[in-house]
Amino acid sequence: MEALSIQIKVNGHSHRIQTLPNRRLLDILREDLFLTGTKEGCGIGECGACTVLLDGEAVNACLILAPQSDGREILTIEGLAEKGFLHPLQKAFIDHFAFQCGFCTPGMLMAAKALLDVNPNPSREEIRQGLAGVLCRCTGYIQIIEAVEDAARALSGIAGDSFTQRKEEAR
């Protein structure tokens, strides 16, 4: 097995990496670039914990061999916040308590980001479909779906009806 050289752009930064072909994009992200926000759950493309964006599309990083990512652009959870400000999706997940153990959260956020990038105003059903590739065993999904609805409103400039805001109004 020969090592290969690949060039990838991750969260806006270019990297040239020497790797054996039997390593996956997930291994490169976690072990070479120390971007451990992307989680390994099942490792067989069913749980979605390793979801990242590859050229803008949500993919399972556990099903992509490192050399297959050569020349491509990747966005991980570490690249979601900009200039120290949380992405509206991250903010909405906090406001809605849309996680408990948090293991699926990076995958959920990246799947939601991919959805909102192409469909800024999704219906509840479209959100469910968009997130169908990420399993959460804690929350029951309702808070997650509400958070994505809220983030969609925030991103399209409509005042978010965030949980905190509603709580304050209730006082």
């Binding site: 054996l20 069913e46 099903l63 061999l65 479909q129």
Partner: protein, 286 residues
């Protein structure tokens, strides 16, 4: 977890890819989207001493075109691309529906039509729609190019006529005109899972009379297939709810006759009958 060792090549052209496949002495696997193959590579027995030929650079095998012979689909076109392609939505809506439902958004972004067909799972989502379209497969080896009807290509569960030195490069779907479509899929969970029953139907009417019926089922027989007996029985009959009811029951009997009775038969036969009735109603517009 790291995958066991294997050899890896990424050819730049179809010719190079075919040469690599034919020259390899050990096990050789063409790598398309990887949603099935990368999972299999976790097994040392699969990976050991094998050569992976990554088809990712063969951009000539991607895309959809409509010409005088019908739809031409590159084998490396992904499920997500097919589900979103206006040409597929209008000319092959059954395929668009199937591609929009297979797996998850993450696997649809990677998985390819060619990979789904070559993997030849009895429950492959795209196969029943392709059978309804009577898809022709274009298969290349270093020496020759051959064309095969899909039903002849599929030999059994996970078995096809494709030799290891061959690549499935394209699909040709003859144009269907004035057909109306129905698609039903039964699955335990609407994502990730594997379809338990798939029904794809195309009907052509003159008034209320059915002049042509095409009916394919997946996941109920060892190989997805057309139910020719029901198709023949439907032809020339006037579409009514009771006709579709009976067609469903006949489809259930025909499929079980093919698969042989199994432990799941008491469940699958009536459920298949209902799904066929629903698909026919969907196609019939009532």
């Amino acid at each position: 977890m790291h995958l066991p060792a294997f050899q890896y090549k990424r050819p730049g052209t179809l010719r190079e890819a075919l040469e690599l496949l034919s020259l390899s002495r050990g096990p050789v696997f063409p790598l398309a989207g990887g949603t099935d193959l990368v999972v299999q590579l976790r097994k040392k027995s699969v990976a050991q001493e094998s050569l992976l030929v990554d088809l990712g650079n063969l951009t000539e095998l991607r895309g959809v075109q409509l010409d005088s012979n019908g739809l031409q689909i590159g084998a490396l076109t992904t499920h997500a691309q097919l589900a979103a392609a206006p040409l597929i939505q209008t000319e092959a809506p059954l395929l668009a529906w199937a591609c929009a439902r297979v797996g998850t958004p993450q696997t649809r972004a990677r998985g390819t039509l060619g990979g789904n067909v070559v993997h030849a799972s009895p429950a492959a989502d795209t196969i029943p729609p392709l059978l309804v379209h009577e898809a022709i497969l274009v298969i290349c080896s270093p020496q020759a190019k051959r064309r095969s009807a899909l039903d002849r290509f599929l030999l059994g569960p996970y078995r096809t006529t494709k030799r290891t030195d061959e690549l499935l490069v394209a699909f040709s779907l003859p144009k269907l005109t004035n057909f109306r479509y129905g698609y039903q899929r039964l699955i335990r969970r609407q994502a990730v899972g594997i379809a338990r029953i798939i029904v794809a139907v195309a009907l052509r009417f003159e008034g209320r009379t059915i002049c042509e019926a095409r009916l394919a089922c997946g996941a109920v027989t060892p190989v997805a297939c057309r139910l020719a007996g029901v198709e023949e029985w439907l032809r020339g009959k006037e579409a009514t709810p009771s006709l579709f009811q009976e067609a469903g029951e006949r489809a259930g009997r025909e499929a079980i006759a093919r698969s042989g009775p199994r432990w799941s038969t008491p469940y699958k036969q009536p459920v298949l009958a209902s799904l066929v009735r629903r698909a026919l109603q969907q196609a019939g517009g009532f």
